[in-house]
Each structure stands twice: as structure tokens, then as C-alpha cells.
Amino acid sequence: MLPSPESLKETLQAQLPGIGLSIEGEGFGVEVKDWVSVCRYLKTAPALELDYLSDLTAVDYPPDRIEVVCHLYSMKQKHGPLTLRVKLNRAHPVVDSVTAVWRSAEFQEREVYDLFGVTFTHHPDLRRILMWDGFEGYPMRKDYVVEDQDVLEKPA
């Protein structure tokens, strides 16, 4: 069983001094600068061993923030999920990639980049994945305007 968020927070702050961490529901909100170090710790700490990144996605909260959300489980100890969130500036959403920690982030981060426009630094191959190269805009953002399919040609 996973420890409660409160005790986990204490452990994390003791192990990684100076990190910004807030309890949100069943999981944590992590600050952008600590994103990879917290993830790496959660994966390797012997009591947790959250070795399986199940799901990584984003939620758009206009006008000012985008949250990257991920759900972690442990395949060795069979516990989870632990939800991690990181709040990003919607105008320039940039966060470090966790592909080096969990390989399963590779395509999921590409999808978030493709549909939300979040840039993951140090990602090995950050390209669009579902939309085509050269597509403009980020379709999953709340302010994305869907093209009107009934109009054959755009008025000049």
C-alpha cells in the first residue's frame, strides 16, 4: 500500500530538500523545476518503486495555466495510483521530459506536445504524432476553433 499523501510529502521533503510540493487530492502538485527529480525519486525509492508510468496527459485551464497530469503505479509492489501534476504557464508551457525516467512517456509526451503545445525539453524525438507535420494550432486547447466543414472554400 502507498503511504498517505501527508507522510509521503514529509518523506519527499526530507529526501529532496528545497522542493515545492502541495497535496492535491490523492496526489501531489509539483513545481516545474522539481518535476524530473521528484519523478526519479519516486521511481527509485525502495519503499515506493513507482516503476510504471501508466498515463501522462494534460488538462487546459484557460486563460493562464495548463496542467500535465500523470498516474504512477508500481508493478513490483502492485500499488498505486499516485497522481502527479505540474502547473505550467499557458503562454509558454515548458517542462522537462520524463522519458529518461520512464520510457512510456515518449509517445505520450509527443501526444501532449501535439495536441496541447507543451514543450518537453530533453525529449529524444519531439515531433507531432497524431496530426501531420506542418499543422498549425493545438486541437485539445479549449480555445481551439474547429474548422467549419460545411464551408468548401474560405472567403477571401
Binding site: 487530492g25 496527459t57 488538462v59 508493478m75 512510456s104 504524432i129 496530426m131 486541437p139 474547429v146
Partner: protein, 383 residues
Amino acid sequence: MALRTDAKPTLETQPLEVNLGPQHPSTHGVFRMMVSLDGETIVKLKPVFGYLHRNHEQIAEDITYIASFPFTDRLDYFCAMSNNLGLAIAIEKLADVTVAERGEYLRVIMAELTRLVNHTAVTGFLLNDMGAFGTPLLYAFREREKILDLFEAASGSRMMCNYIRPGGVREDVPDGWLKRAKEIVDRYPTFLDEFEALLTKNEIIRQRTQRVGVLSKELAISAGVTGPMLRASGVNYDIRKVDGYSFYSRFSFKVPLGSIGDVYDRYSVRILEMRQSVQILQQAFKQIPDTGPAISPKGVALVKAPRTFRPPKGDAYGRIESPKGELGFYLVSDGSPQPYRYHVRAPSFVNLTILEDMCLGCKVADAVIILGSVDIVMGEVDR
């Protein structure tokens, strides 16, 4: 004259770039592999997809929770029932909906029948990829059709079932359905024996699949691979056991494991899983109550008046062991009748991450088999 093996190549060579797909029967839909070849050996492989992308997630954010169910049928169109179940479980978690007992048993029965359908079909396709055109696939499809008839009797549609709802199932199965289903399930091991007699010890199949596309345990875990692929690599992780969702904790069944994680192991794990599914089904047929509602009162209210269904603010991540792996739905509610955020964690999308790692150093003909053993459905990968 002795063959010189230490000779340095005198000609300048360059890798050959080949596109496998997007329109090719071996790619299981519109999927493209950009392959760099050195002779016949793969030195680089990049999967390209998105041809079937229709932004399922965005569509779902504009409609009510219930209205998404028909769309989930089209995610993994082989396993409509388990996709319905995944979304139903996520909604139940979000809004705290209880499930009627008979409905829950029917859901387990449908989910396991779907597993039989999926594994039978993918095994048939694997043989097709190896060049055994037609015959094994038709054996597989003959059995699959019998189960699809059951789905049609229960839901009105062979493949796009749209049957499971939060709180239970849309409506109870017709009279005599369970008896008919039991007969088909009881006969299934006979079919599996026949299928295995044709395939399991077949020398050609062993030559083509053993030690091909090996996936190590460590990489499988790190890459978030789930389902039969993960268990073929020897990791004991089955969400039916780990989470014990639905009534799976009431049944006794084993989790088959492979040893080295090659294509042959994935094939064997799927065959063994089908035998376990038959056991689960037989227990479910014994345990299911004869009477009782197939859907709970809250579920009925939700289905009858979807626009009045406003889950409390918050989020929920519901996941199930679909035939292809972990199928997860992440829902965020803002208290309105539509989900604020709706995300599908598709198993075959994540399982494709390590396609290149498995294919490097293999021959180009093996890439087709390795892709087949991943078991992808483009409706789910592209969403």
C-alpha cells in the same frame, strides 16, 4: 577456395529507406513504418500514425458522458464491450455509482467473451502475417463469429455493441441467452485444442517466431507495456488481479506468464489466457443470479436523462485489463453534464513505444510478425 569472412567491403553502401504501409494488409490498418535497411536487416524504424485521428477526446468533451459510449466502440473495434466497460468504470468512480449484481456478472461475461474474440482473431492474423494466408484465420473467424452472434443477440450489433452502462448493462440479455453462451464457451477448449494441434508445435511457426522480437522484462516495465505482451516477458501484472475491479476477485484463475518475451511467448500467453477466460466464464455462469435488475437505480436515471447527470467536481482515473493491455479513462468534471477533460489511455498506443527496440537487428520480414504480435488496432492508436 575458402570463403573470406574478414574481407572489408570495397563498395560504398548506404542504408535503404523503405516505407512499410500505410496501406498494406500486414500493417493492421493504416499504419506506416519508416524502415532503414542494411541489406535485409533493420537498422532504424520509426512508426508513423495518425491517419485515423478524429480527436475522439475533443468530441467527447462536447457531449454528455453517456453519449461517448458509442464512440468508445470505435476505439478498439474488436473489443467494443471492454471499451464500454472501461468508460463505465471511470464514470462510476467519478460519480460514485453502484452496480447491480446481475449487471456486474453480465459485464464480466461480456468482457471475457471479448477477450476470447480478440485473442482468437489476433492469433489468426499472426498466422496471416507469417504467410499462412486464409486457413488459420478462417478457423479463428469461424469461432469469433459464434461469439459475435451472442453479442448481436444481447446488444443488437455484432461489433459496435454499445451495451455496458454505468451501473450495469443497457438491458438484460434475452431468454435462453446464457444457456446458448454456456454451450459455446463449453465447446471453446475443443476449438483451442484443434487450433493448437495445427499451430503450437508447428516447426515453421517455431522457426519464424522463437527468439524473434525479444522484449526484456526491464524494458517492458519501463516502457509501460501492458497486457499479454508484458506477461509474455515474464512480469506478473494483471489488472484483474491487482485492482480486483468488477467481480474478478470472486473468480479463481491463473495469470499465464512467458519466459523470454519473444513472439512465440506472446502467442502462447494469448492461448493460455483464452483457457483461463473460459474458466472465468464457467464460474460466472454458475454464480450469476437468475433474477434481479441488470442496472442499478442511479444507472437508470443516468441513462434516461443524461443531461441531468452532473458528477461532482473532481477527477477520476479508471482502468481495466482490456484484451490488449491497460485501458484507462481519465475524466475531469467541472460539475457540468459534459466532461471537462476526457482522456483515453490506449494500450496499443503505448505498446507501440518499443516497436523499434524489438525490431532492431531483425530481418524486414520479422518486423511484420513483431508488429502483429504487439496486437494493435488503429482506431485506438489514432483516436
